[in-house]
């Protein structure tokens, strides 16, 4: 059974139950430098990715640095 969450503003059905699993499910290399995640408006530190459980209705932000002015 999947979770209904929002990822970067878009609804998604996911199997993952943790942030770490989610990144892997989404093909984002969790080792990659610069990746950061927020869940429901709060940043999840990289160290907590593996323990942080996801729940139905979570709003997730997965970000990285881009060029900027």
């Amino acid at each position: 059974m999947t979770l209904n969450v929002t990822i970067n503003g878009e609804p998604a059905d996911i199997d993952a139950r943790t942030v770490l699993a989610l990144l892997e499910e989404r093909g984002v290399d969790p080792e990659a430098r610069g990746v950061a995640v927020a869940r429901n408006g709060a940043v999840i530190r990289r160290a907590d990715w593996s323990e942080t459980a996801l729940a139905d209705g979570d709003a997730l932000e997965i970000v990285k640095p881009f060029s900027g002015g």
């Binding site: 990659a32 610069g34 408006g41 990289r46 932000e61 640095p65 060029s67 900027g68």
Partner: protein, 263 residues
């Protein structure tokens, strides 16, 4: 010893107890390609480079800015944020992403002019300073707002010279001088620089540094324009420190007035 070397030694820019030899801060966006961006940054002599934080495009992504720019002090921005809340979350994600608590704080009040929202900016600055960020706010050319930002604990203030990306230079030099004369923290002229003389003028007015992006990235030759900006900032800073001659409305001969031939 050429002046910019001397100033390297004697005249460093200090923000939040960190020292910099260069007074030019540069953006990383809008260059023809990544290599030109890296060459321009190198040519500029800048030590601080701004980046943005954006949602990952889930189809994987290009080489990380982090590795590309490891030799620079990165300054993530909150460009595009229209509320204190979004700006604060963006800053917190940036801190996690880049392992830096420095942030160029932008809270935009209007998508067309990109003028700051003073209320939102002050609110976000207060919150971020309290969460331990080193906050450099992009702000109005308004001495009261600049003073409030400094009093909240911002590490510098970055008033606009003119509209972001407009290349109109300094539209209100008197306001910048007013801010400089009263600011307890470094003043970085941000936004509007179009060409070298604009950057030199900002420094002559007493700014501690200049932050620019478009003027270099969109120039016909970004790398050579980056060098021009490096020299212009050095020139303007040196001129400020050298004590310029006063403007006067009458002429004054430079050559001796005695011993004229045939006179």
């Amino acid at each position: 010893m050429p002046d910019e070397l001397r100033s390297t030694a004697e005249d460093r820019l200090t923000i939040a107890d960190e020292h910099f030899s260069s007074r030019l801060l540069i953006g990383t966006a809008g260059y023809p390609n990544q290599q030109v961006m890296l060459d321009a940054l190198g040519e500029s002599g800048a030590e601080i480079a701004t980046v943005s934080i954006r949602r990952i495009s889930l189809e994987g992504y290009a080489e990380s800015m982090v590795d590309l720019l490891k030799s620079y002090r990165l300054l993530p921005n909150t460009a595009g944020c229209e509320t204190a809340k979004d700006a604060v979350l963006t800053a917190e994600l940036a801190r996690e992403s880049l392992e830096t608590d420095w942030v160029k704080l932008e809270v935009i009040g209007d998508r067309e002019t990109l003028y700051p929202d003073v209320e939102g900016l002050l609110q976000a600055a207060d919150q971020l300073v309290k969460s331990g960020f080193t906050v450099l706010p992009y702000c109005n050319d308004d001495p009261v707002t600049c003073r409030k930002l400094a009093d909240l604990g911002c590490a510098a203030v970055m008033p606009l010279g003119s509209l972001i990306g407009s290349g109109q230079g300094l539209q209100n030099p008197a306001a910048i001088e007013l801010i400089v004369s009263r600011s307890p923290v470094p003043v970085i002229l941000d936004a509007g620089i179009g060409t070298a003389s604009d950057a030199a003028l900002a420094m002559e007015l007493g700014c501690d540094g200049v932050l620019l992006n478009t003027a270099v990235a969109k120039a016909r030759d970004p790398v050579s324009m980056a060098g021009a900006m490096r020299d212009a900032v050095a020139a303007g800073r040196a001129a400020r420190r050298s004590g310029r001659i006063p403007r006067q409305s009458r002429a004054e001969p430079s050559s001796p007035q005695l011993g004229l031939i045939g006179s």
